[in-house]
Protein backbone atom coordinates (compact mmCIF):
# COMPACT_ATOMS: atom_id res chain seq x y z
CA UNK A 1 0.00 0.00 0.00
CA UNK A 2 1.39 3.35 -0.93
CA UNK A 3 -1.03 6.13 -1.56
CA UNK A 4 -0.09 9.79 -1.87
CA UNK A 5 -2.18 12.37 -0.14
CA UNK A 6 -1.71 16.10 -0.57
CA UNK A 7 -3.52 18.52 1.68
CA UNK A 8 -3.52 22.25 0.97
CA UNK A 9 0.02 22.07 -0.40
CA UNK A 10 1.49 25.48 -1.15
CA UNK A 11 4.77 26.66 -2.57
CA UNK A 12 6.11 30.16 -2.29
CA UNK A 13 9.50 30.61 -3.95
CA UNK A 14 12.16 32.83 -2.46
CA UNK A 15 11.25 35.70 -4.78
CA UNK A 16 7.68 35.69 -3.45
CA UNK A 17 6.19 33.83 -6.41
CA UNK A 18 3.35 31.61 -5.24
CA UNK A 19 3.73 28.74 -7.68
CA UNK A 20 1.33 26.33 -6.00
CA UNK A 21 -1.66 27.75 -4.15
CA UNK A 22 -3.17 25.08 -1.98
CA UNK A 23 -3.49 21.77 -3.78
CA UNK A 24 -5.34 18.84 -2.25
CA UNK A 25 -5.22 15.50 -3.99
CA UNK A 26 -5.77 11.88 -3.16
CA UNK A 27 -3.82 9.41 -5.22
CA UNK A 28 -4.81 5.86 -4.43
CA UNK A 29 -2.38 2.96 -4.23
CA UNK A 30 -1.37 1.80 -7.69
CA UNK A 31 -3.09 4.69 -9.38
CA UNK A 32 -1.65 6.51 -12.38
CA UNK A 33 -2.20 10.19 -11.73
CA UNK A 34 -1.42 12.68 -14.49
CA UNK A 35 -0.92 16.38 -13.83
CA UNK A 36 -1.63 18.46 -16.88
CA UNK A 37 -1.84 22.18 -17.44
CA UNK A 38 -0.35 25.08 -19.34
CA UNK A 39 3.31 26.03 -18.97
CA UNK A 40 4.12 27.66 -15.65
CA UNK A 41 1.01 26.41 -13.84
CA UNK A 42 3.10 24.72 -11.13
CA UNK A 43 3.05 21.08 -12.22
CA UNK A 44 6.77 20.52 -11.88
CA UNK A 45 6.85 22.43 -8.63
CA UNK A 46 4.14 20.19 -7.17
CA UNK A 47 5.92 17.05 -8.36
CA UNK A 48 9.23 18.25 -6.97
CA UNK A 49 7.63 18.89 -3.61
CA UNK A 50 6.42 15.30 -3.55
CA UNK A 51 9.97 14.22 -4.47
CA UNK A 52 11.47 16.35 -1.73
CA UNK A 53 13.52 18.45 -4.14
CA UNK A 54 11.60 21.58 -3.12
CA UNK A 55 10.55 22.44 0.39
CA UNK A 56 6.82 22.56 1.06
CA UNK A 57 5.75 26.07 2.12
CA UNK A 58 2.37 25.03 3.47
CA UNK A 59 0.08 22.04 3.83
CA UNK A 60 1.16 18.43 4.06
CA UNK A 61 2.29 15.72 1.73
CA UNK A 62 1.87 12.17 2.95
CA UNK A 63 3.20 9.05 1.27
CA UNK A 64 1.84 5.77 2.53
CA UNK A 65 0.20 7.54 5.46
CA UNK A 66 3.44 9.16 6.62
CA UNK A 67 3.83 12.92 6.39
CA UNK A 68 7.05 13.48 4.45
CA UNK A 69 7.31 17.30 4.53
CA UNK A 70 10.56 17.20 6.51
CA UNK A 71 11.94 13.97 5.08
CA UNK A 72 14.90 13.82 2.70
CA UNK A 73 14.23 12.69 -0.90
CA UNK A 74 16.26 9.55 -0.34
CA UNK A 75 14.11 8.48 2.59
CA UNK A 76 10.79 9.01 0.81
CA UNK A 77 11.20 5.83 -1.22
CA UNK A 78 10.31 7.43 -4.52
CA UNK A 79 11.97 7.36 -7.92
CA UNK A 80 11.92 10.13 -10.45
CA UNK A 81 12.33 10.22 -14.20
CA UNK A 82 13.49 13.61 -15.42
CA UNK A 83 12.77 15.35 -18.69
CA UNK A 84 16.46 15.39 -19.63
CA UNK A 85 16.83 11.84 -18.17
CA UNK A 86 19.55 13.03 -15.77
CA UNK A 87 21.66 9.92 -16.31
CA UNK A 88 25.10 9.89 -14.70
CA UNK A 89 27.23 10.60 -17.78
CA UNK A 90 30.41 9.01 -16.45
CA UNK A 91 28.80 5.71 -15.50
CA UNK A 92 27.83 2.78 -17.67
CA UNK A 93 24.16 1.93 -18.10
CA UNK A 94 24.64 -0.87 -15.60
CA UNK A 95 26.15 1.43 -12.99
CA UNK A 96 23.48 4.03 -13.62
CA UNK A 97 20.86 1.50 -12.66
CA UNK A 98 22.87 -0.01 -9.83
CA UNK A 99 23.81 3.31 -8.21
CA UNK A 100 20.66 3.70 -6.11
CA UNK A 101 20.88 0.12 -4.87
CA UNK A 102 24.57 0.43 -4.01
CA UNK A 103 23.88 3.56 -2.00
CA UNK A 104 21.39 1.58 -0.01
CA UNK A 105 23.81 -1.25 0.65
CA UNK A 106 21.94 -3.89 -1.33
CA UNK A 107 23.95 -7.13 -1.62
CA UNK A 108 25.93 -7.43 -4.84
CA UNK A 109 24.18 -10.46 -6.29
CA UNK A 110 20.79 -8.95 -5.63
CA UNK A 111 21.84 -5.74 -7.39
CA UNK A 112 22.99 -7.80 -10.32
CA UNK A 113 19.74 -9.74 -10.48
CA UNK A 114 17.59 -6.64 -10.23
CA UNK A 115 19.54 -4.65 -12.81
CA UNK A 116 19.45 -7.54 -15.26
CA UNK A 117 15.73 -7.97 -14.66
CA UNK A 118 15.05 -4.29 -15.29
CA UNK A 119 17.30 -4.33 -18.34
CA UNK A 120 15.34 -7.27 -19.70
CA UNK A 121 11.98 -5.62 -19.14
CA UNK A 122 13.13 -2.39 -20.78
CA UNK A 123 15.12 -4.11 -23.51
CA UNK A 124 18.38 -2.34 -22.74
CA UNK A 125 20.41 -5.52 -22.16
CA UNK A 126 22.66 -4.95 -25.19
CA UNK A 127 23.75 -1.55 -23.87
CA UNK A 128 24.54 -2.38 -20.24
CA UNK A 129 28.24 -1.63 -20.61
CA UNK A 130 27.79 1.54 -22.66
CA UNK A 131 27.94 5.10 -21.42
CA UNK A 132 24.78 7.20 -21.80
CA UNK A 133 26.33 9.36 -24.50
CA UNK A 134 26.52 6.32 -26.76
CA UNK A 135 22.75 5.81 -26.61
CA UNK A 136 19.89 7.27 -28.62
CA UNK A 137 17.26 9.45 -26.96
CA UNK A 138 14.80 6.57 -26.74
CA UNK A 139 17.40 4.26 -25.22
CA UNK A 140 18.39 6.87 -22.64
CA UNK A 141 14.75 7.20 -21.78
CA UNK A 142 14.57 3.46 -21.15
CA UNK A 143 17.65 3.55 -18.96
CA UNK A 144 16.12 6.37 -16.94
CA UNK A 145 13.02 4.22 -16.51
CA UNK A 146 15.22 1.28 -15.58
CA UNK A 147 16.96 3.33 -12.92
CA UNK A 148 13.54 4.08 -11.47
CA UNK A 149 12.18 0.54 -11.47
CA UNK A 150 15.21 -1.35 -10.09
CA UNK A 151 14.70 0.26 -6.71
CA UNK A 152 11.08 -0.91 -6.48
CA UNK A 153 10.00 2.38 -4.93
CA UNK A 154 6.62 3.20 -3.51
CA UNK A 155 5.97 5.98 -5.98
CA UNK A 156 7.18 6.83 -9.49
CA UNK A 157 7.41 10.48 -10.39
CA UNK A 158 7.70 11.53 -14.02
CA UNK A 159 8.37 15.09 -15.17
CA UNK A 160 7.59 15.28 -18.88
CA UNK A 161 9.68 12.19 -19.58
CA UNK A 162 8.70 11.94 -23.25
CA UNK A 163 8.92 15.52 -24.36
CA UNK A 164 12.42 15.13 -25.82
CA UNK A 165 11.42 12.26 -28.09
CA UNK A 166 10.08 12.43 -31.62
CA UNK A 167 6.34 11.96 -32.18
CA UNK A 168 6.47 8.30 -33.13
CA UNK A 169 8.74 7.22 -30.30
CA UNK A 170 6.64 9.25 -27.90
CA UNK A 171 3.53 7.23 -28.71
CA UNK A 172 5.45 3.97 -28.46
CA UNK A 173 6.98 4.89 -25.08
CA UNK A 174 3.63 6.13 -23.84
CA UNK A 175 2.12 2.72 -24.43
CA UNK A 176 5.11 1.04 -22.80
CA UNK A 177 4.98 3.23 -19.72
CA UNK A 178 1.31 2.43 -19.31
CA UNK A 179 1.95 -1.31 -19.67
CA UNK A 180 4.87 -1.19 -17.27
CA UNK A 181 2.90 0.71 -14.67
CA UNK A 182 0.01 -1.75 -14.99
CA UNK A 183 2.40 -4.64 -14.50
CA UNK A 184 4.27 -3.15 -11.53
CA UNK A 185 1.17 -1.57 -9.95
CA UNK A 186 3.29 1.25 -8.59
CA UNK A 187 1.57 4.49 -7.68
CA UNK A 188 2.66 7.08 -10.24
CA UNK A 189 2.48 10.81 -10.70
CA UNK A 190 3.14 11.97 -14.22
CA UNK A 191 3.53 15.56 -15.37
CA UNK A 192 2.89 16.52 -18.97
CA UNK A 193 1.45 19.32 -20.99
CA UNK A 194 0.47 17.03 -23.83
CA UNK A 195 -3.23 16.47 -23.24
CA UNK A 196 -3.38 13.36 -25.44
CA UNK A 197 -0.66 11.78 -23.29
CA UNK A 198 -2.63 12.86 -20.25
CA UNK A 199 -5.92 11.38 -21.46
CA UNK A 200 -4.44 8.05 -22.48
CA UNK A 201 -2.25 7.44 -19.43
CA UNK A 202 -4.32 8.68 -16.55
CA UNK A 203 -6.48 6.82 -14.09
CA UNK A 204 -6.87 10.15 -12.41
CA UNK A 205 -6.40 13.25 -14.51
CA UNK A 206 -5.63 16.49 -12.71
CA UNK A 207 -5.95 19.72 -14.65
CA UNK A 208 -3.98 22.54 -13.07
CA UNK A 209 -4.12 26.23 -13.78
CA UNK A 210 -2.24 29.05 -12.09
CA UNK A 211 -1.10 26.93 -9.20
CA UNK A 212 -4.48 25.44 -8.46
CA UNK A 213 -6.36 22.28 -9.34
CA UNK A 214 -9.18 23.09 -11.73
CA UNK A 215 -10.59 19.59 -11.76
CA UNK A 216 -9.49 16.07 -10.93
CA UNK A 217 -11.14 12.85 -12.02
CA UNK A 218 -11.26 10.12 -14.61
CA UNK A 219 -10.17 11.41 -18.06
CA UNK A 220 -13.55 10.80 -19.67
CA UNK A 221 -15.34 12.42 -16.77
CA UNK A 222 -13.31 15.57 -17.44
CA UNK A 223 -14.07 15.32 -21.13
CA UNK A 224 -17.77 14.79 -20.64
CA UNK A 225 -18.41 17.04 -17.68
CA UNK A 226 -15.80 19.76 -17.42
CA UNK A 227 -16.44 21.68 -14.25
CA UNK A 228 -14.89 24.94 -15.42
CA UNK A 229 -14.46 26.87 -18.65
CA UNK A 230 -10.71 26.32 -18.34
CA UNK A 231 -11.00 22.53 -18.26
CA UNK A 232 -13.56 22.66 -21.08
CA UNK A 233 -11.11 24.54 -23.27
CA UNK A 234 -8.07 22.54 -22.19
CA UNK A 235 -9.26 18.95 -22.60
CA UNK A 236 -10.03 17.88 -26.14
CA UNK A 237 -8.45 18.63 -29.51
CA UNK A 238 -9.44 20.69 -31.30
CA UNK A 239 -10.71 22.56 -28.25
CA UNK A 240 -14.32 22.98 -27.28
CA UNK A 241 -16.16 25.90 -28.87
CA UNK A 242 -16.88 28.45 -26.16
CA UNK A 243 -19.25 31.30 -26.93
CA UNK A 244 -20.49 33.92 -24.51
CA UNK A 245 -24.22 34.22 -25.08
CA UNK A 246 -25.97 37.25 -23.58
CA UNK A 247 -29.47 37.00 -22.12
CA UNK A 248 -30.88 38.32 -25.44
CA UNK A 249 -29.18 35.62 -27.47
CA UNK A 250 -26.96 35.90 -30.55
CA UNK A 251 -27.94 36.22 -34.20
CA UNK A 252 -27.55 32.93 -36.04
CA UNK A 253 -27.75 30.91 -32.84
CA UNK A 254 -30.92 29.06 -31.82
CA UNK A 255 -30.97 27.74 -28.28
CA UNK A 256 -34.39 26.56 -27.09
CA UNK A 257 -33.44 25.50 -23.56
CA UNK A 258 -30.87 27.43 -21.60
CA UNK A 259 -30.22 28.65 -18.10
CA UNK A 260 -31.37 32.17 -17.38
CA UNK A 261 -29.01 35.11 -17.65
CA UNK A 262 -25.83 35.44 -19.71
CA UNK A 263 -23.93 32.16 -20.09
CA UNK A 264 -20.85 30.73 -21.70
CA UNK A 265 -22.02 28.04 -24.07
CA UNK A 266 -19.64 25.17 -24.75
CA UNK A 267 -19.99 22.61 -27.51
CA UNK A 268 -17.29 20.32 -28.84
CA UNK A 269 -16.47 20.39 -32.59
CA UNK A 270 -17.15 16.66 -32.78
CA UNK A 271 -20.67 17.11 -31.39
CA UNK A 272 -21.78 19.55 -34.05
CA UNK A 273 -23.51 17.89 -36.99
CA UNK A 274 -24.56 19.25 -40.32
CA UNK A 275 -27.59 17.06 -40.89
CA UNK A 276 -29.82 19.22 -38.67
CA UNK A 277 -33.16 17.59 -39.43
CA UNK A 278 -34.35 16.26 -36.03
CA UNK A 279 -35.34 18.58 -33.15
CA UNK A 280 -31.88 19.25 -31.76
CA UNK A 281 -30.95 21.42 -28.81
CA UNK A 282 -28.71 23.85 -30.62
CA UNK A 283 -28.62 25.18 -34.12
CA UNK A 284 -25.97 27.54 -35.39
CA UNK A 285 -25.46 29.19 -38.71
CA UNK A 286 -21.88 29.77 -39.70
CA UNK A 287 -19.95 31.01 -42.68
CA UNK A 288 -16.94 28.80 -43.37
CA UNK A 289 -13.66 30.73 -43.24
CA UNK A 290 -11.15 27.89 -43.47
CA UNK A 291 -11.09 24.16 -44.15
CA UNK A 292 -8.51 21.92 -42.48
CA UNK A 293 -8.38 18.35 -43.75
CA UNK A 294 -6.31 15.93 -41.65
CA UNK A 295 -7.39 12.73 -43.39
CA UNK A 296 -9.76 10.85 -41.13
CA UNK A 297 -11.66 14.04 -40.46
CA UNK A 298 -11.99 17.62 -41.58
CA UNK A 299 -12.22 20.70 -39.39
CA UNK A 300 -14.34 23.55 -40.65
CA UNK A 301 -13.54 26.93 -39.16
CA UNK A 302 -16.35 29.43 -39.43
CA UNK A 303 -17.76 32.64 -38.03
CA UNK A 304 -21.15 32.60 -36.37
CA UNK A 305 -23.61 34.34 -38.71
CA UNK A 306 -20.70 35.55 -40.80
CA UNK A 307 -19.34 38.10 -38.32
CA UNK A 308 -19.71 36.48 -34.90
CA UNK A 309 -17.27 34.44 -32.77
CA UNK A 310 -15.20 31.72 -34.44
CA UNK A 311 -16.39 28.13 -34.17
CA UNK A 312 -15.00 24.78 -35.25
CA UNK A 313 -17.09 21.96 -36.68
CA UNK A 314 -15.71 18.47 -37.15
CA UNK A 315 -16.81 16.55 -40.22
CA UNK A 316 -15.90 12.88 -40.56
CA UNK A 317 -13.80 11.99 -43.60
CA UNK A 318 -13.45 14.36 -46.51
CA UNK A 319 -15.52 17.50 -46.69
CA UNK A 320 -16.71 19.28 -49.81
CA UNK A 321 -17.06 22.63 -48.09
CA UNK A 322 -15.34 25.72 -49.40
CA UNK A 323 -14.63 29.02 -47.64
CA UNK A 324 -17.52 31.46 -47.90
CA UNK A 325 -20.08 28.67 -47.79
CA UNK A 326 -22.94 29.02 -45.30
CA UNK A 327 -23.94 26.01 -43.21
CA UNK A 328 -26.19 25.12 -40.32
CA UNK A 329 -24.83 22.81 -37.62
CA UNK A 330 -26.76 21.31 -34.75
CA UNK A 331 -25.97 19.61 -31.47
CA UNK A 332 -28.03 17.47 -29.11
CA UNK A 333 -29.11 19.09 -25.82
CA UNK A 334 -27.04 16.67 -23.73
CA UNK A 335 -23.89 17.67 -25.62
CA UNK A 336 -24.14 21.27 -24.51
CA UNK A 337 -22.21 22.75 -21.58
CA UNK A 338 -23.10 25.95 -19.79
CA UNK A 339 -20.79 27.99 -17.62
CA UNK A 340 -21.19 31.08 -15.51
CA UNK A 341 -19.37 33.85 -17.38
CA UNK A 342 -18.26 35.49 -14.12
CA UNK A 343 -16.96 32.53 -12.14
CA UNK A 344 -16.25 30.20 -15.06
CA UNK A 345 -18.00 27.40 -13.13
CA UNK A 346 -20.29 24.86 -14.73
CA UNK A 347 -24.03 25.43 -14.52
CA UNK A 348 -26.02 22.23 -14.10
Amino acid sequence: MSDVRLEGVRKVYAGGVEAVKGVSLDIADGQFCVLVGPSGCGKSTLLRMVAGLETISGGTCAIDGRVVNEIEPAERDIAMVFQNYALYPHMSVYDNMAYGLRNRGTPKDEIDARVKEAARILEVEPFLQRKPKALSGGQRQRVAMGRAIVRKPKVFLFDEPLSNLDAKLRIQMRVEIKKLQRALKTTSIYVTHDQLEAMTLADQLVVMNKGQVEQAGAPLELYEKPQTVFVAGFIGAPPMNLVTVPESGLPGLTLPERPPGPVVLGVRPEHLHEDGASPFGLAIEIVVTAVEAVGAETYLYGALNGDGPELIVRVAGRATHVPGQRLTATAAPDQLHFFNPQTGKRIG
Partner: protein, 293 residues
Protein backbone atom coordinates in the same frame (compact mmCIF):
# COMPACT_ATOMS: atom_id res chain seq x y z
CA UNK B 1 28.50 24.12 -53.03
CA UNK B 2 31.00 25.48 -50.56
CA UNK B 3 29.11 26.54 -47.46
CA UNK B 4 31.99 28.21 -45.66
CA UNK B 5 33.04 31.73 -46.30
CA UNK B 6 36.07 31.59 -48.54
CA UNK B 7 38.59 34.39 -48.78
CA UNK B 8 40.42 34.54 -52.00
CA UNK B 9 44.05 35.48 -52.13
CA UNK B 10 46.70 34.64 -49.57
CA UNK B 11 47.58 38.09 -48.31
CA UNK B 12 44.72 38.68 -45.86
CA UNK B 13 45.13 35.47 -43.84
CA UNK B 14 48.86 36.07 -43.56
CA UNK B 15 48.33 39.64 -42.47
CA UNK B 16 45.80 38.54 -39.85
CA UNK B 17 48.13 35.88 -38.51
CA UNK B 18 51.24 38.02 -38.65
CA UNK B 19 50.98 39.81 -35.27
CA UNK B 20 50.49 36.57 -33.36
CA UNK B 21 53.20 34.80 -35.30
CA UNK B 22 55.55 37.71 -34.79
CA UNK B 23 54.99 37.76 -31.06
CA UNK B 24 55.50 34.01 -30.81
CA UNK B 25 58.60 34.20 -32.94
CA UNK B 26 60.24 37.10 -31.12
CA UNK B 27 59.28 36.18 -27.58
CA UNK B 28 59.30 32.43 -27.75
CA UNK B 29 61.13 30.80 -30.62
CA UNK B 30 64.00 33.27 -30.69
CA UNK B 31 64.91 33.04 -26.98
CA UNK B 32 64.22 29.31 -27.00
CA UNK B 33 66.55 28.86 -29.95
CA UNK B 34 69.11 31.02 -28.25
CA UNK B 35 68.90 28.96 -25.09
CA UNK B 36 69.39 25.75 -27.03
CA UNK B 37 72.37 27.28 -28.83
CA UNK B 38 73.91 28.59 -25.64
CA UNK B 39 73.51 25.28 -23.89
CA UNK B 40 76.09 23.92 -26.30
CA UNK B 41 78.64 26.64 -25.50
CA UNK B 42 81.13 27.23 -22.75
CA UNK B 43 82.33 30.73 -21.95
CA UNK B 44 85.50 31.47 -20.04
CA UNK B 45 85.33 33.37 -16.78
CA UNK B 46 85.89 36.75 -18.39
CA UNK B 47 83.50 36.23 -21.27
CA UNK B 48 86.32 36.66 -23.76
CA UNK B 49 86.11 33.38 -25.59
CA UNK B 50 83.39 30.85 -26.20
CA UNK B 51 83.78 27.27 -27.20
CA UNK B 52 81.32 24.86 -28.76
CA UNK B 53 81.20 21.79 -26.51
CA UNK B 54 78.16 19.76 -27.67
CA UNK B 55 76.49 18.12 -24.65
CA UNK B 56 79.15 18.84 -22.06
CA UNK B 57 76.94 21.32 -20.19
CA UNK B 58 74.23 18.68 -19.90
CA UNK B 59 76.71 16.04 -18.75
CA UNK B 60 77.97 18.33 -16.04
CA UNK B 61 74.44 19.29 -15.08
CA UNK B 62 73.25 15.72 -14.64
CA UNK B 63 76.38 14.65 -12.84
CA UNK B 64 75.87 17.16 -10.04
CA UNK B 65 73.97 16.07 -6.98
CA UNK B 66 72.62 19.53 -6.29
CA UNK B 67 70.68 19.49 -9.56
CA UNK B 68 68.79 16.42 -8.39
CA UNK B 69 68.25 18.09 -5.06
CA UNK B 70 66.70 21.07 -6.84
CA UNK B 71 64.53 18.71 -8.83
CA UNK B 72 63.31 17.12 -5.64
CA UNK B 73 62.67 20.54 -4.10
CA UNK B 74 60.70 21.53 -7.19
CA UNK B 75 58.72 18.30 -7.09
CA UNK B 76 57.85 18.80 -3.42
CA UNK B 77 57.06 22.45 -3.94
CA UNK B 78 54.85 21.88 -6.98
CA UNK B 79 52.96 18.93 -5.53
CA UNK B 80 52.24 20.86 -2.35
CA UNK B 81 51.12 23.98 -4.19
CA UNK B 82 49.07 22.04 -6.73
CA UNK B 83 47.44 19.93 -4.03
CA UNK B 84 46.56 22.80 -1.73
CA UNK B 85 45.55 25.31 -4.38
CA UNK B 86 43.35 22.76 -6.14
CA UNK B 87 41.68 21.38 -3.05
CA UNK B 88 41.12 24.74 -1.37
CA UNK B 89 39.81 26.24 -4.61
CA UNK B 90 37.46 23.27 -5.06
CA UNK B 91 36.20 23.68 -1.52
CA UNK B 92 35.52 27.38 -2.12
CA UNK B 93 33.87 26.69 -5.46
CA UNK B 94 31.56 24.08 -3.95
CA UNK B 95 30.54 26.59 -1.29
CA UNK B 96 30.02 29.36 -3.85
CA UNK B 97 27.99 26.99 -6.02
CA UNK B 98 25.64 26.30 -3.12
CA UNK B 99 24.95 29.90 -2.22
CA UNK B 100 25.07 31.32 -5.66
CA UNK B 101 23.19 34.44 -4.57
CA UNK B 102 26.12 35.97 -2.76
CA UNK B 103 28.55 34.45 -5.19
CA UNK B 104 29.23 37.72 -7.02
CA UNK B 105 30.73 39.37 -3.98
CA UNK B 106 32.40 36.17 -2.91
CA UNK B 107 33.87 35.64 -6.37
CA UNK B 108 35.18 39.20 -6.63
CA UNK B 109 36.99 38.85 -3.33
CA UNK B 110 38.43 35.52 -4.38
CA UNK B 111 39.69 36.89 -7.68
CA UNK B 112 41.82 39.61 -6.16
CA UNK B 113 44.89 37.58 -5.26
CA UNK B 114 45.20 36.61 -8.90
CA UNK B 115 45.66 40.25 -9.83
CA UNK B 116 48.59 40.64 -7.45
CA UNK B 117 52.01 40.36 -9.06
CA UNK B 118 54.01 37.33 -7.86
CA UNK B 119 56.86 39.40 -6.43
CA UNK B 120 54.40 41.53 -4.46
CA UNK B 121 52.68 38.41 -3.19
CA UNK B 122 56.08 37.13 -2.09
CA UNK B 123 56.90 40.37 -0.27
CA UNK B 124 53.43 40.44 1.29
CA UNK B 125 53.83 37.00 2.75
CA UNK B 126 57.41 37.69 3.69
CA UNK B 127 56.28 40.69 5.71
CA UNK B 128 53.48 38.81 7.39
CA UNK B 129 55.80 35.95 8.28
CA UNK B 130 58.95 37.97 8.87
CA UNK B 131 60.46 36.30 11.98
CA UNK B 132 60.80 39.29 14.28
CA UNK B 133 58.25 41.80 13.02
CA UNK B 134 55.73 39.87 10.91
CA UNK B 135 52.15 39.95 12.11
CA UNK B 136 51.58 36.27 11.67
CA UNK B 137 54.99 35.26 13.01
CA UNK B 138 54.32 37.18 16.18
CA UNK B 139 51.10 35.30 16.80
CA UNK B 140 52.73 31.99 15.87
CA UNK B 141 55.50 32.72 18.32
CA UNK B 142 52.97 33.83 20.91
CA UNK B 143 51.43 30.40 20.52
CA UNK B 144 54.79 28.96 21.57
CA UNK B 145 56.08 27.81 18.18
CA UNK B 146 59.56 28.71 17.04
CA UNK B 147 59.02 30.21 13.59
CA UNK B 148 61.88 31.31 11.41
CA UNK B 149 61.67 30.96 7.64
CA UNK B 150 65.02 32.77 7.32
CA UNK B 151 66.84 29.95 9.03
CA UNK B 152 64.62 26.89 8.89
CA UNK B 153 64.25 25.29 5.46
CA UNK B 154 60.90 23.70 6.22
CA UNK B 155 59.54 27.02 7.43
CA UNK B 156 60.81 28.71 4.30
CA UNK B 157 59.20 26.04 2.15
CA UNK B 158 55.93 26.46 4.03
CA UNK B 159 56.10 30.19 3.44
CA UNK B 160 56.58 30.00 -0.33
CA UNK B 161 54.01 27.20 -0.62
CA UNK B 162 51.49 29.38 1.18
CA UNK B 163 52.21 32.42 -0.96
CA UNK B 164 52.12 30.46 -4.22
CA UNK B 165 48.97 28.59 -3.21
CA UNK B 166 47.22 31.76 -2.15
CA UNK B 167 47.87 33.32 -5.52
CA UNK B 168 46.72 30.35 -7.56
CA UNK B 169 43.47 29.64 -5.69
CA UNK B 170 41.55 32.38 -7.54
CA UNK B 171 42.35 30.98 -10.93
CA UNK B 172 41.44 27.43 -9.95
CA UNK B 173 38.32 28.65 -8.20
CA UNK B 174 36.96 30.27 -11.36
CA UNK B 175 37.44 27.13 -13.40
CA UNK B 176 36.00 24.87 -10.73
CA UNK B 177 32.97 27.11 -10.31
CA UNK B 178 32.33 27.10 -14.05
CA UNK B 179 32.80 23.33 -14.05
CA UNK B 180 30.36 22.86 -11.19
CA UNK B 181 27.77 25.04 -12.83
CA UNK B 182 28.04 23.01 -16.00
CA UNK B 183 26.89 19.87 -14.16
CA UNK B 184 23.13 19.58 -14.73
CA UNK B 185 21.21 20.14 -11.52
CA UNK B 186 18.92 17.24 -12.28
CA UNK B 187 21.86 14.82 -12.21
CA UNK B 188 22.64 15.85 -8.64
CA UNK B 189 18.95 15.65 -7.76
CA UNK B 190 18.72 12.19 -9.28
CA UNK B 191 21.64 11.14 -7.09
CA UNK B 192 19.93 12.62 -4.02
CA UNK B 193 16.80 10.62 -4.78
CA UNK B 194 19.02 7.60 -5.40
CA UNK B 195 19.99 7.80 -1.76
CA UNK B 196 23.48 9.27 -2.01
CA UNK B 197 24.54 11.41 0.95
CA UNK B 198 26.01 14.83 0.06
CA UNK B 199 29.52 13.42 0.68
CA UNK B 200 28.91 10.42 -1.53
CA UNK B 201 27.29 12.63 -4.13
CA UNK B 202 30.43 14.71 -4.21
CA UNK B 203 32.84 11.81 -4.57
CA UNK B 204 30.82 9.63 -6.93
CA UNK B 205 29.12 12.22 -9.15
CA UNK B 206 30.51 15.74 -8.87
CA UNK B 207 34.19 14.93 -8.55
CA UNK B 208 34.29 12.50 -11.50
CA UNK B 209 32.31 14.94 -13.63
CA UNK B 210 34.81 17.65 -12.74
CA UNK B 211 37.79 15.50 -13.65
CA UNK B 212 38.45 17.15 -17.03
CA UNK B 213 38.60 20.52 -15.26
CA UNK B 214 40.74 19.11 -12.47
CA UNK B 215 43.18 17.55 -14.87
CA UNK B 216 43.44 20.69 -16.94
CA UNK B 217 44.07 22.73 -13.81
CA UNK B 218 46.60 20.25 -12.50
CA UNK B 219 48.77 20.74 -15.57
CA UNK B 220 48.27 24.49 -15.59
CA UNK B 221 49.19 24.63 -11.91
CA UNK B 222 52.32 22.60 -12.34
CA UNK B 223 53.42 24.84 -15.18
CA UNK B 224 52.58 27.81 -12.97
CA UNK B 225 54.67 26.46 -10.12
CA UNK B 226 57.55 25.69 -12.45
CA UNK B 227 57.75 29.18 -13.88
CA UNK B 228 55.54 31.84 -12.40
CA UNK B 229 56.55 31.30 -8.80
CA UNK B 230 59.95 32.73 -9.56
CA UNK B 231 58.84 36.15 -8.33
CA UNK B 232 57.52 34.77 -5.08
CA UNK B 233 60.66 32.81 -4.33
CA UNK B 234 62.92 35.67 -5.31
CA UNK B 235 61.07 38.09 -3.06
CA UNK B 236 60.45 35.81 -0.11
CA UNK B 237 63.46 33.51 0.28
CA UNK B 238 65.78 33.91 -2.69
CA UNK B 239 65.95 30.17 -2.86
CA UNK B 240 67.30 29.94 0.67
CA UNK B 241 67.98 29.17 3.41
CA UNK B 242 70.81 26.99 2.13
CA UNK B 243 68.99 26.46 -1.20
CA UNK B 244 66.07 24.87 0.66
CA UNK B 245 63.55 26.58 -1.61
CA UNK B 246 65.57 26.68 -4.79
CA UNK B 247 63.39 25.45 -7.64
CA UNK B 248 64.55 24.60 -11.14
CA UNK B 249 63.59 27.97 -12.54
CA UNK B 250 65.23 29.79 -9.67
CA UNK B 251 68.40 27.81 -10.19
CA UNK B 252 68.47 28.81 -13.86
CA UNK B 253 68.46 32.39 -12.70
CA UNK B 254 70.93 32.10 -9.84
CA UNK B 255 73.43 29.95 -11.76
CA UNK B 256 73.23 32.17 -14.78
CA UNK B 257 73.23 35.54 -13.06
CA UNK B 258 75.16 35.08 -9.86
CA UNK B 259 77.17 32.02 -10.88
CA UNK B 260 77.95 33.36 -14.33
CA UNK B 261 77.54 29.88 -15.79
CA UNK B 262 75.57 30.86 -18.89
CA UNK B 263 76.00 27.55 -20.70
CA UNK B 264 74.93 25.54 -17.68
CA UNK B 265 71.89 27.64 -16.98
CA UNK B 266 70.94 27.56 -20.66
CA UNK B 267 71.07 23.76 -20.48
CA UNK B 268 68.81 23.93 -17.43
CA UNK B 269 66.26 26.05 -19.23
CA UNK B 270 66.24 23.61 -22.10
CA UNK B 271 65.52 20.81 -19.64
CA UNK B 272 62.68 22.88 -18.17
CA UNK B 273 61.33 23.55 -21.61
CA UNK B 274 61.29 19.83 -22.39
CA UNK B 275 59.42 19.13 -19.14
CA UNK B 276 56.73 21.68 -19.95
CA UNK B 277 56.36 20.50 -23.52
CA UNK B 278 55.96 16.95 -22.23
CA UNK B 279 53.35 18.04 -19.68
CA UNK B 280 51.37 19.89 -22.30
CA UNK B 281 51.54 16.96 -24.67
CA UNK B 282 50.23 14.63 -21.97
CA UNK B 283 47.45 17.06 -21.25
CA UNK B 284 46.31 17.22 -24.85
CA UNK B 285 46.34 13.47 -25.18
CA UNK B 286 44.38 12.97 -21.98
CA UNK B 287 41.88 15.76 -22.40
CA UNK B 288 40.97 14.30 -25.74
CA UNK B 289 40.61 10.80 -24.42
CA UNK B 290 40.54 9.39 -21.00
CA UNK B 291 39.17 12.01 -18.70
CA UNK B 292 36.27 12.64 -21.03
CA UNK B 293 33.30 10.55 -20.14
Amino acid sequence: MEKRVVFHGKLLPFLLLAPQLLVTLIFFYLPAGQAVWQSFLVQDAFGLSTEFVWFENYQILFSKADYYRTMLTTAIFSSLVAFFSLSIALLFAVQADKHIKFATGYKTLLIWPYAVAPAIAGVLWLFMFQPSLGLVSQSIRAAGFEWNPLLNQNHAMALVVMAATWKQISYNFLFFLAGLQAIPKSVIEAAAIDGATPMRRFWTIIFPLLSPTTFFLLVVNIVYVFFDTFGIIDAATQGGPAKGTETLVYKVFSDGKSGGDLGGSAAQSVVLMVIVIALTAIQFRYVERKVQY
